[in-house]
Amino acid sequence: MAYFQRHKGIFPLLLLLPGLLWLIVFFAVPLYYQAKISLNTGSPFEGFHFAWHWSTYTDAIKTYHTQFIRSFIYAGASTGLSLLIGYPLAYAIAFRGGRWRNALLLAVILPFFVTYLVRTLAWETILDDASPLVSFLQTLGIVGKNGHVLATTSAVIAGITYNFLPFMILPLYAALERIDGRLLEAGSDLYGNRRSVFTRVTLPLSMPGVVAGVLLTFIPAAGDFVNAALLGSPKQTMIGNVIQSRYLEVNDYPTAAALSFMLMAIILVLVAVWAKIAGTESLMGAETAR
């Protein structure tokens, strides 16, 4: 290691520099420009100029608070659903998978190998009024005789849940798989029944996976707009839809930038609160689990 030690001072810097510069210029600096644009005033026709125009923020909240609240409700609902669907699946793969573990894990990430938009469009096909599934649900009475599934809140939440479910399963599996089987044996040797072994041993030990999975599902879900655009109606508009249309269709840059900034701020606050509740240790563990 003579070479590495001699150049200890600059060598790591040289390795870090190109990637770090890229992240600074194209991740950190853009946030500064976004902050600046959010305080601009003007109109798409006359052009914008910087003016510490804070009322963009208050106006944006006044106009779009419904979409904000809706985004977080949808994200929360689909995160909860992902946990309900994902935990038993991850548990089954980790403890009952046997030699099929890797194949099952591959099956879990298979949806990622199909383009995101095509996956979501497939749900449009599945939930279409003419589809067999919808007529089946109509016969069961779950959906009204002439009822729709598409363009409803349920469709959007189901779509979001589907698209981000693997993000929940993978860290859960990583945490469950690492649990030492002897601890579970010890639990039942000490007269713990199945339920108490689960709640007192398995569940606490898998918490890093739960913490990571919730973050990895909730963050993209809160910012998503594809599911609301393809599976919802204007009644399901989320904050992501507003941001992208303000930027690309209306060219109302200050409002779009302000909304984007607030979305990031709220998510960072939620992540910090979540880290406080769950403990930073498991958050860091979660980070390495990825």
């Binding site: 790591p12 770090l20 089954a92 095509v118 984007s260």
Partner: protein, 302 residues
């Protein structure tokens, strides 16, 4: 599922020391309990895989109108010439070019960063780790919108198009590469490098002949992930593409009018290629694991 209500108390009272001759009810209850988890897991897996089946299936749909929502019978006509839809092939080409370039750049930069972060103790390593983690914790829409703010503000230097898409893809891929390669490096045995140097290899030779081959599965996995993320990205690309159309953007445009079955065909093709690549990566890393398992025994012999 109604029978599930019964076995719960049976399991709760189950103690290891149970007299022989278990009642058939209890046995049935246990069987339900034993099978309910695999059945639930199988349903969850089916939910994950069902849309993929639909996508592949509807690529064979004998559509007469421009819509591909209702099944109308089998045909191979779309598979015969999937690229006759105007714009689809160009969009796919641009997507592949951007994916290859961004994977190459991000994998190189990210691997270097991972090496520096795992190998060296230096001040500011913890905040640096946090900074690299930050893009992963930011919603895509914010990443894309912020980048667009930069490009709009500095429009002398940046023209929205191929270049800005590439910049964006490298940006969001770097963090993924760092995280993936780093997890591989953490279990790395540095004695191997020391041995190489003791045997007279210089730092450069050590890196190319010892370090890189050993971390290759991690780098390969990172590259595959970066490629998949890039070719699939819609949200960030949509904001920073200008008039350039990638494959996801083509679908987005088509979704407002009608989605031809050819889109499903291309999706199926990408799916098959990625599955093969993923299986290859898993096989590679298994081989590497087996190789590293051999060593301790050899040490014991020595």
């Amino acid at each position: 599922m109604t029978t599930e209500a019964y076995p719960a108390p049976a399991a709760a009272t189950a103690k290891p020391a149970r007299p022989p001759g278990v009642s058939p009810w209890r046995r049935a209850g246990r069987a339900v309990l034993h099978w309910s988890l695999p059945v639930y897991a199988a349903i969850a897996l089916a939910y994950l895989l069902f849309p993929i089946v639909i996508i592949i299936w509807f690529s064979f749909n004998n559509t007469h109108s421009r819509f591909n929502f209702v099944w109308q019978g089998w045909t191979l006509k779309h598979w015969k010439d999937p690229f006759q839809v105007p714009g689809l092939l160009d969009a796919l080409k641009i997507s592949i070019e951007i994916a290859l370039l961004s994977t190459l750049i991000a994998t190189a930069l990210g691997t270097m960063m991972a090496l520096a972060l795992v190998r060296y103790e230096f001040r500011g390593r913890a905040p640096l780790n946090f900074f690299i983690f930050l893009p992963l914790a930011t919603p895509e829409i914010v990443l894309g919108a912020a980048l667009l703010s930069l490009f709009l503000s500095q429009s002398h230097y940046f023209h929205l198009g191929f270049g800005t898409i590439l910049i964006a893809h490298v940006m969001f891929n770097i963090s993924f590469v760092v995280v993936t390669v780093r997890s591989r490096l953490i279990g790395f045995d540095r004695h191997l490098e020391e041995a190489a140097q003791d045997l007279g290899a210089n730092a450069w030779q050590t890196f190319w002949r010892v370090t890189l081959p050993l971390i290759a599965p991690g780098v390969l996995a990172a590259a595959l992930l970066a490629f998949a993320l890039s070719i699939d990205d819609f949200v960030i690309t949509n904001l920073n593409s200008g008039s350039t159309v990638t494959y996801p953007l083509f679908i987005w445009g088509a979704a407002r009018v009608s989605i031809p079955p050819e889109v499903n065909i291309v999706a199926t093709m990408i799916f098959v290629v990625t599955v093969i690549a993923a299986i290859f990566t898993v096989w590679q890393s298994r081989r590497a694991e087996k190789l590293s398992e051999i060593r301790p025994e050899q040490e014991a012999i020595a």
